[in-house]
């Protein structure tokens, strides 16, 4: 059936969508119900004043009734049909389908586009994993060097009667190979860092937002100065974001705006200068919730002249919903974090402020105070679980005395070398550790 004969079918669809009876529309258009019935079944052509009257009665533009679905929609449907050989769609009736069921047709066309995008992402990721020559070469080089070191070291360790000449030779080999291993490892880390920057397009929506926040130092001066609203910042900074990432970004910006309204920049900076990075002290001083105090300190600590701080918020499942890491205090981007973090301990005791001295690496100078606080989130409804969010602010303790042994924490078990940790869930790739 040709498209120009489908006006009647579109009128029928629009009338049903509007919840209007055939007799009502006919009366408004000044024709009989039986004549409208013939029009709706494409047995009478329609145009001129009658078309305008029916369009007005239905509250749509006349062109919606005469032109029907967009050409692009039809083209998308044709492509969707050609993607598969297992199902033979009625291509000769695609115009009729798009005209009679515009909603379903649009849904089908959008799903097809989404499948295209997902397939493309899967291909990119698969290619990267299987055909990345630099990665494969670096890993091969590392494993070969490790094998050489292991062989030479075990000869030295296990052969008591080895001649001095051979001893010297294997010592020299180990020395050379360990230098080479160090170089290869550094090159690999640099490469992975670069690859991470270059592949932002296939990151999860949360990571897209993380990248914008990191680029802006986790605060937006225009909003702090009252010169921009959340949607202004979203428009300026969110160019190219996926739709999901844009919604997440807006949610973050709206939270920023609410926080700024309660605690303006000047007040926060004055507080940090007077008391230091002390969220519980400042929350009492400002008369606000400790989680709000942490968010504002996280945004403005460096503006107040303090050392950069780390900040994270998780929900009750432990998933991070906000992440502001420090170079010296990384936070797991994906997957499960370190169960020893005060962030998770606070979840067990909502509304109880937690402060702990923590050490994220083996180096003595990297010691931090972690402040954590969990609080209910969202509306309280009968017989429905109350959501809980936990916030953790991490501040460097450089130069401060440590009176107790710090709590040992990590990023996550897979890359944590600590041995004998009670919180370990799985072995580390860096040591046996379990």
């Amino acid at each position: 059936m040709m498209r120009d004969t489908l006006t009647g079918g579109r009128i029928r669809e629009r009338r049903i969508l509007a919840g209007m009876k055939q007799a009502d529309l006919a009366r408004r258009a000044g024709i009989s119900a039986s004549y409208l019935n013939l029009i709706e079944h494409n047995r009478r052509r329609i145009g001129g004043k009658l078309l305008l009257g029916i369009a007005e009665a239905l509250g749509v533009e006349p062109s919606i009734l005469t032109e029907g679905a967009e050409a692009a929609l039809i083209a998308n449907l044709r492509e969707a049909a050609s993607d598969t050989t297992q199902v033979s769609a009625e291509l000769d009736r695609v115009d009729e389908f798009a005209g009679r069921f515009p909603g379903w047709a649009e849904l089908l066309a959008r799903d097809r586009k989404r499948i295209d995008t997902l397939e493309s992402t899967v291909k990119i990721l698969t290619d990267r994993l299987t055909h990345d020559p630099h990665l494969a070469a670096s890993l091969h080089d590392m494993l070969t060097t490790v094998t050489a070191i292991r062989s030479a070291a075990s000869i030295l360790a296990e052969s008591g009667d080895i001649e001095p000449e051979w001893q010297d030779r294997f010592h020299r080999n180990i020395n050379e190979d360990s230098a080479r291993l160090a170089e290869t490892s550094q090159a690999l880390v640099r490469y992975l860092d670069d690859a991470e920057d270059a592949t932002a397009d296939v990151h999860a929506p949360q990571e897209e937002v993380d990248a914008i926040l990191a680029r802006n130092g986790y605060h937006f001066d225009q909003m702090e100065a009252g010169l921009s609203l959340p949607h202004d910042v979203a428009n300026a900074e969110g160019v190219g974001l996926s739709s999901v990432a844009r919604r997440l970004f807006m949610r973050v910006l709206e939270q920023f705006a609410q926080d700024i309204a309660v605690l303006p920049k000047e007040k926060v900076i004055a507080g940090i200068k007077a008391e230091g990075v002390e969220p519980f002290v400042l929350a009492n001083l400002w008369g606000v919730d400790p989680a709000l105090a942490m968010r504002r300190i996280a945004a403005l600590a460096t503006a107040a002249g303090a050392e950069p701080v780390g900040f994270a918020v998780c929900d009750a499942s432990g998933a991070l919903v906000y992440r502001q890491p420090l170079d010296s205090f990384p936070l797991a981007r994906l997957g499960s974090g370190c169960p020893m973090l005060p962030l998770y301990r606070a979840l067990a005791s909502p509304l109880l402020p937690v402060a702990a001295v923590v050490q994220p690496t083996e180096r003595d100078e990297d010691v931090f105070t972690a402040f954590a606080y969990a609080h209910p989130f969202g509306p309280l409804r009968a017989n429905e679980p109350q959501l809980v969010f936990s916030s953790m602010l991490v501040a460097s303790r450089a130069g401060q005395p440590n009176h107790a042994a710090p709590l040992k924490v990590g990023v996550n078990c897979r890359i944590c070398p600590r041995q004998g940790c009670v919180g370990r869930r799985e072995p580390s790739i860096l040591s046996r550790g379990m």
């Binding site: 890993l139 494993l143 050489a148 292991r150 062989s151 075990s154 000869i155 030779r169 294997f170 050379e176």
Partner: protein
């Protein structure tokens, strides 16, 4: 008569370490580092056991082994393949090419020694 092992590996320090432990165990050890000329060297040497790295300059260990297998069966010449890639598909490629044993880096000296002894029926 002492049994002979031919070791084809381009990493000199691995070569030196494996040669040392095999010699100390009583094996006669020949070494070679180039992929292009490896097939000729193997056919000429006709060792009791061949240790063959996969990633060699010039020609891969898989290609070398396929050519060698057109001359010698697994009973004639047992082959231990060494590789840094330990995925199932790598093992399958090695088996199809005719490897008798497959060992993933980083391996230990004891593992290499045990594999060579076992392949030579020692």
């Amino acid at each position: 008569m002492e049994k002979r092992v031919l070791l084809v590996e381009d990493e000199p320090n691995i070569l030196e370490a494996i040669r040392f432990i095999l010699k100390r165990d009583g094996w006669s050890v020949e070494t070679h580092s180039d992929g292009n000329s490896a097939v000729d060297v193997i056919l000429r040497s006709r060792p009791d056991v061949l240790i063959l790295d996969v990633m060699l300059p010039g020609k891969s260990g898989y290609d070398i082994l396929r050519e060698v297998r057109s001359e010698y069966t697994e009973d004639d010449l047992p082959v231990l393949m060494l590789t840094a890639r330990g995925q199932v598909k790598d093992r399958e490629i090695a088996e199809r090419a005719g490897a008798s044993r497959f060992m993933t880096k980083p391996f230990s000296n004891a593992e290499v020694l045990e594999a060579v002894r076992s392949l030579a029926g020692a």
